[in-house]
Symmetry: C2
Subunit: 314 residues, 2 copies
């Protein structure tokens, strides 16, 4: 049976490149809203899971994108995005004329501008559209999207944006602005996680009641979205990765590259990045980013809940 | 006319030492709730203002404290608190037996423990009770108080706490715990203000629409209580001090002293302190703490709203 799009014409065809925890949720959200969704991932098992949920699978990015009106790229970084578009088997040369490429990876705004320029030179539309919200919101079609691009890129992307997002910020007509907003958010998020881990482990070092510290701080001027969200992992001694240390090694690395290029000093973000690097170097790169607390504990002898679960490497 | 306390007996007498923006509000809140309040400040004008509002003035701390059941000390730091209690004209020797000394200044927990021990040796009760919430909440009797001390200290202090606070956290029976909670909050608050200034000025450097950045970040995972509260000062170009740079020179200085003594590394708080020191050194010590944004702008050439108002010294 043919799924119906909202205007009852033929269904919009959307390709999703990258079916990780974010991409899978975004693909299924679009399918639920009546788009005809084709998925590709470098890991065949991910494609199989999408097919088991009723999606269409593809054997390559070019295969997925061949008939697509919309391609949503949900890969890890700018380099992978460039490879999807312009690599040896890149899709930019074979995408349909007037189709839109929606780029969701977090990247340097200068990279986003470069990719958009090259894609537009081939007659494609490019939407710079980093995402925020995590896997649970991706699955529910409730992501926040920080988007910039031409009017035509927004128009063509609209059915996908409506299906994937609870909130779309329209940040202007030039690629790079969406990426820049996302990097400002990542600077703050990365610093706040590090500050939360520094503070809660300092409280542990002083023997304070950590549940009480959480109660008092979340009701005080020292609170942050990240303190409120991550400290419960530490109180539970549960470092199973919801978002890993390596994500902020990457994202604060991009912040540092941008800042160096702009001649802009970022002492807070730089200090935080050193802590993520130390945690990754100590073997916790794939653990939850709240593992910075375990690093502070190891460096100071502080005792955290469940510290018996510390990784082998420490 | 004799003000009536809640049990219609003779009014509880409370002395307030330090009638700054916090102490004045606390004194008036207690008066409003029927306590008989005597105020002292090193600046005679502050005492005059309190008397004009119907309070009783005193010529010295000892004069203010002589008949008090409760003394509330709202001075700047641990050294001033020690001077109020044990200095050349200190009140500890002349306070009524069984009266309680409520210490509100932010200080090293070790200093709080030492002061409590010496006060208790003289038969006084000591409540370690740092405050949070700002001048507006002080005036409305809606402060948050992070308190620790003996059962008798809490009991005796109760009428004052009820009058001054919207929320009293009771954090245990030992002085020092309240101070320690406050320092954890100040570590986070100081880092978050610096991060907010680093991020919003980085956005300015990239030419982003700062009002839009504020809208997006306050709805995203990068948000903090301080970002939400302080960035509007920057967007308005208004650095009139609600809380000054020097407050965090002091408070992150205490964090560093504690951390050094505990052998606990605090790279985030240390980086933030350097920025507050640089802002103070550049002549902005008495300006609003959001002035860190002006420092980042000066260091990078970024343009912030109202930057024509930058201080002479820059």
């Amino acid at each position: 049976m043919m799924p119906l799009s909202e205007n009852s014409g033929p269904a919009v065809i959307a390709a999703v490149i990258g079916l990780g925890s974010m991409g899978m949720g975004m693909a299924l959200s679009m399918k639920r809203k009546g788009l005809d969704v084709v998925g590709y991932d470098i890991t065949p098992g991910a494609v199989d899971r999408f097919v088991a949920e009723g999606g269409r699978g593809a054997a390559s990015p070019a295969d997925a994108a061949a008939d697509a009106d919309i391609v949503v790229s949900v890969v890890v970084n700018g380099a992978q995005t460039e490879s999807v578009l312009f690599g040896p088997q890149g899709i930019a040369a074979t995408m349909k004329a007037d189709a839109v490429f929606i780029s969701s990876a977090t990247m340097d705004p200068a990279v986003a501008r470069n990719l958009a320029e090259r894609a537009e030179a081939l007659g494609l539309h490019y939407l710079d559209a980093p995402i925020s919200g995590g896997a649970a919101k991706a699955a529910r079609g409730e992501l926040t999207i920080m988007a910039s691009g031409s009017r035509k890129a927004f128009e063509t992307a609209r059915p996908a944006l409506d299906a994937m997002a609870g909130k779309v910020y329209e940040l202007g007509n030039a690629a790079g602005t969406g990426a820049a907003f996302k990097m400002i958010n990542q600077l703050l998020a990365g610093v706040h996680i590090a500050a939360a881990c520094e503070a809660i482990t300092f409280a542990a070092k002083q023997g304070l009641d950590l549940d009480k510290v959480y109660e008092v701080i979340t009701a005080s001027a020292g609170n942050s979205w990240m303190f409120e969200n991550r400290v419960p992992h530490i109180l539970a001694g549960d470092y199973a990765p919801l978002s890993s240390i390596e994500i902020f090694v990457k994202d604060l690395g991009i912040v540092q590259d941008m800042a160096r290029s702009e001649r802009y000093p970022t002492p807070l973000a730089a200090a935080a990045l050193q802590m993520y690097l130390a945690a990754a170097g100590a073997g916790m790169g794939r653990d939850d980013d709240s593992s910075l607390a375990r690093l502070y504990a190891k460096l100071s002898g502080a005792e955290l809940p469940g510290s018996a679960k510390e990784p082998q490497s420490l």
